[in-house]
Amino acid sequence: MTLMAQHGSKPMLRWVLLVIVLGIAASPALPLVVLTLGQEPTRSLWTDAFSKSTGSTLYLGAGVSVFSLVIGLPLGLLAALYRFPARRPLILFQALPLLLPSFLLCIGWSNLAAAKWLWWLPTPDGLAGCVFVLGLQMMPLPFFATWAAGHNLTASQIDSVRLHGGERSVLTFSARACAPVAILAALLGGILSLSDTGAPLIFGYRSAAVEIRTSFSALFDYELAGRQCLLLAGLALLLIAPVLFVGLRLLAAAVLARQTRPAMPYPHRALSWVAPGGLLLVLIVGVVVPTLGLCWPAAENPMIERAATKVTATAGTTLIFTGGAAVIAVLFATLIALATSASARGRLFVLAVLLLLLAMPPALAAIGVSRIATGAPPQLDWLMRSRLTVALILGLRFLPVATVAMMFATCGLSPSWRDAARIHGVSRVRMFVRVTLPYLSFAIVVSLLLVMVLAATDITTTHLLQPPGDQSLPVAIFTVMANSPEGLVASLCLLYLLCVVLLLAAASQLPRLWSRRSA
C-alpha cells in the first residue's frame, strides 16, 4: 500500500493534477509533434548521416554525464562534509559555468588555443572537446545535487561511520548515499547537452542537434525535424530509463529515512585543503581560462561604455524572462513534487515525461508556439505573443530541473506531520502555509536561481519568441558577436559575468540573512 493510500489522500485528484500540469508542459511541442505524425514523410528519417549523428550524440550525452559526475560527485561531497576557508563563495561560484552559453566557452577555448604563446595548450576538438567543455559546464548540476544530498545526511549517521571506519568510510558511505541524486543530476546535464548546437558546431562534431538544425534551417523541413526530435528524445529516454528507475528507488530510500539534525562540516586537516583546491581548480579551468580567452580583446580595445548601454537596455527584459521562467517552473515543480511525494511510481512517470520533453531541442517548442499563436485570436496575444510567453516556455523547458530539486525536498516531508495536523484539526491550507512551505522554502529559492540561470542561457527559445523591442542580454551578446569588434563582444561578456558574479554574491548572503531574521 502506498503512503498516499495510507494517509487517506485522493490519488485520483493527484493524477488529474499531474496530467494537467504535464499537459501544459508538453503543449508547446505538441503542434509540431502532431504535424510530424500526421503527415506523409517526404524525406527518409533514418539516413546514414542521421544514424551516425544519433550515435555520436548518445556518446556525447554519456560523456558529458560521466565527466560531470566524476568531477561533481567528489567535489560536492567534500563541499558538504568539510569545513574549509572561503567555503560559501567557493561553493556558490561553482554555478558560474552554467551561466555561460557553451558557444562563448568554446570560442574562449578556441581563442586561447590559437594564441602563439599558448602553443602547448591542447586544442579542444571533436568529441573530446565537446565533452570537456559541456562536461565542465554541466558539472554544477551533480555538484549541487551531491552537496544538497550531503546536507541531508544526519549527524548521527556520519558520526557513527567516522567512529567506526575513519574518514575513508565517511566518504564511501556519503558517496553511496548521494550517488542516486548525483547520477540523476548528471543525466539531466547529459540530456541538456543533447540539444546543444554551439559546441558541436565549433568543435566540428556531428551531433543529432546539428542534423536537426539543418533540417529546420537549411531544408526548412519541420516535419523531418520533428520526427528527428522525437526519435532522439525517445532513444535517450529508453537508454536512461533503467538508470532512472534504479536511481529514483535509491533516491527515495536515501532521503525518506531522515532525522532533523544534519551533519555539521568537519574540519579535517588534509581534506579541508583538498576541497577548496579542487573547487578552485574547477573554477579556473571551467570558467576563468575560457573567459580570459573570450575577454582579452577587451584589454586591447575596451568598449565598456558601449557595452554598458547595451546591458542597461537589456537588463530589465533579461530579469523578466528569467525571473518569470523561474517562478513558473518552481510553481509547477512544487505542485508536481507534492502530488507525487508519496508515490515512487508517480515520480518515475512524471520524470520520464519531463525528461522526454527536455531532450527535445528548444526550437521545436518555440516554432510550435509561434504556429499556435499565429492561428490564435489576437485576444490571446497576452498569453501567446508576449513576455509571458517567453517566460512560460522557458519555465516549462526547465521544469524537469526544478522538479528534481523539489521532489528531492518533498521526500523529506514526514507523513507524521500531516497526521499530527489532522489530529489537531489544522486545515490543509494552514498546514501548507505554516509547515510545508517553510520547509520547502530553501529548495524553492535554490530552484528559482537554478532555473533563472539556465533560462538565461537558452538563446534559441528567447530569440524565436521574444516580442519585438524586447531583447535579453545573452541574446544581445549573440546578436552582436558576428561582426562586431571583438572588443565590444569581450566587454559585453565581461559585464555579463560581472552581473552574474554580483547576483551570486547577493545570493550567498541569503542564508545568512535568513538565519539572522529567524533568530
Binding site: 554551439g198 566540428g204 556531428r206 508576449s386 509571458l388 552582436v480
Partner: protein, 350 residues
C-alpha cells in the same frame, strides 16, 4: 520573522507573475500608426543606426528584431514562416536575396514596387518586386599576411584546392548563410558537374568546414588557417581590429566575384504595412547606401553615383567584375542542391 520573510518572498513571486501577466503583447505598441517592426538578418550593429536615423527623420518608432550568429539568416526566417498567418513583422531586411526569395516562395512577402528603387541595378532584384536589392557585400578570399606572402596570395576560389594551401584553408558550412548562396551561385555559373568537381577538390585539399563566416575570419586572423572564404564585412572587422589579414576579390579576371546585396522585403499582412513601405523607401535611398558604406560593414553601394567614403577599403560594384548569376532563381537552385548534394557532402566531410 521567518514567516514574514516567506510572505515577502511569496508576494514577490505574485508580483513577478503579475508583471508578466500584465505585460501587453509584443510590447504595447508594435501595431499602431507610429510603429514599425523590422526583422533583419543584417548584423544589428549595422542595422540599428539606420533604424535610429529613420526614427529621427519620420517619428516612426522602429522595433528591430535582429538574428543571432548561431541562427544567422535562418532563425528569423523560420519565425517569419511560422508567423505567416498573422505576421508581427512589417519588413524583413535580409542580408542576402536568397532568404528573401524563400519568403516569396512561401507566400510570406508581398510585392512593393518602390519608387525609391530608381537608379538601382535591376539584375539584383526580384522582377515581381517582392524584394528589392541595395548595398552589397562581396564574397572574398581572406588570407593571413603572416602565413601567405604577397606573391603567394590566392586569386581564385579554386586556390582553396591548391596544394600550397593543403590543410590550411577553410570555408563556412555551405548549408547555411551566404556560403550556401555562394554554393548555389557556383552550381548555376559552373554547371552541376564542374561545381561538384570543385567541391570534391576541396575535400582532397583538406579544406576545413567551419560553423560560420565569422569563425572563418577569426581563425584566419588567428593564424589557425592561411586562407578562407568569407564576406567583405567580416574582412573589414578584422582589418579595423588591426589583424594581419589581406583579402582578394576572387576570379577577378574569370567568372567574377559574387555580390551579395541586401534585400528589402515587405511582409504580406504586416500590422503596419504603410510604415513598412516608408521604411523600404528609406532603405533604398542613395543616402542609406552611403551610410552603409560609412558603417563598420563597409557595404558597397549598388548605385555607381553614390560617393565612397575616404579610406573605403573595397572597390565600388561598378569597378568589379561581378559573377553573372540570376538572383531570382538562386533560392530554387539552393533548395535543389541542398538535398541532393550539399547535405551529403557536408555529412561526409565535416
Amino acid at each position: 520573522m521567518k514567516r514574514h520573510l516567506l510572505t515577502l518572498y511569496l508576494a514577490a513571486e505574485l508580483i513577478a507573475v503579475g508583471v508578466l501577466g500584465c505585460s501587453s503583447p509584443s510590447s504595447p505598441s508594435s501595431s499602431g500608426a507610429n510603429n514599425l517592426v523590422v526583422y533583419t538578418s543584417v548584423d544589428e550593429v549595422f542595422a540599428e543606426p539606420i533604424g535610429k536615423t529613420f526614427e529621427q527623420e519620420t517619428g516612426i518608432r522602429v522595433q528591430l528584431v535582429p538574428d543571432t550568429e548561431e541562427t544567422k539568416s535562418t532563425g528569423l526566417l523560420n519565425r517569419l514562416i511560422a508567423e505567416k498567418g498573422r505576421p508581427r513583422a512589417d519588413v524583413f531586411w535580409s542580408g542576402d536575396p536568397v532568404r528573401a526569395a524563400i519568403l516569396k516562395s512561401k507566400g510570406v512577402s508581398t510585392a512593393y514596387p518602390s519608387a525609391a528603387a530608381e537608379g538601382l541595378p535591376r539584375e539584383f532584384s526580384d522582377a515581381e518586386h517582392h524584394w528589392i536589392s541595395f548595398s552589397a557585400r562581396a564574397r572574398v578570399l581572406i588570407y593571413n599576411k603572416d602565413l601567405v606572402s604577397e606573391n603567394q596570395k590566392p586569386t581564385s576560389i579554386r586556390d582553396l584546392a591548391d596544394p600550397r594551401f593543403k590543410g590550411k584553408a577553410c570555408i563556412a558550412n555551405p548549408l547555411f548563410g551566404t556560403t550556401s548562396m555562394h554554393a548555389s551561385a557556383l552550381f548555376q555559373s559552373l554547371g552541376d558537374d564542374d561545381a561538384k568537381k570543385f567541391f570534391q577538390s576541396l575535400v582532397e585539399n583538406k579544406v576545413k568546414i567551419l560553423s560560420s563566416n565569422g569563425e572563418v575570419r577569426r581563425r584566419v586572423a588567428n593564424g589557425e588557417f592561411a586562407i578562407g572564404l568569407t564576406d567583405t564585412d567580416d574582412v573589414n572587422v578584422a582589418i579595423e581590429e588591426g589583424k594581419p589579414v589581406g583579402f582578394v576579390y576572387p576570379d577577378a579576371d574569370q567568372m567574377g566575384t559574387l555580390m551579395i546585396p541586401n534585400a528589402a522585403v515587405l511582409i504580406a499582412g504586416g500590422p503596419n504595412g504603410e510604415n513598412g513601405k516608408k521604411f523600404i523607401d528609406y532603405l533604398l535611398r542613395p543616402e542609406t547606401e552611403a551610410a552603409l558604406a560609412r558603417s563598420e560593414a563597409a557595404q558597397m553601394p549598388l548605385r555607381s553615383e553614390v560617393e565612397l567614403p575616404a579610406g573605403f577599403p573595397f572597390k565600388s560594384v561598378s569597378q568589379l567584375r561581378t559573377m553573372s548569376v540570376d538572383y531570382g532563381t538562386l533560392a530554387e537552385k539552393l533548395e535543389e542542391i541542398s538535398d541532393s548534394f550539399l547535405k551529403p557532402w557536408v555529412d561526409e566531410n565535416q
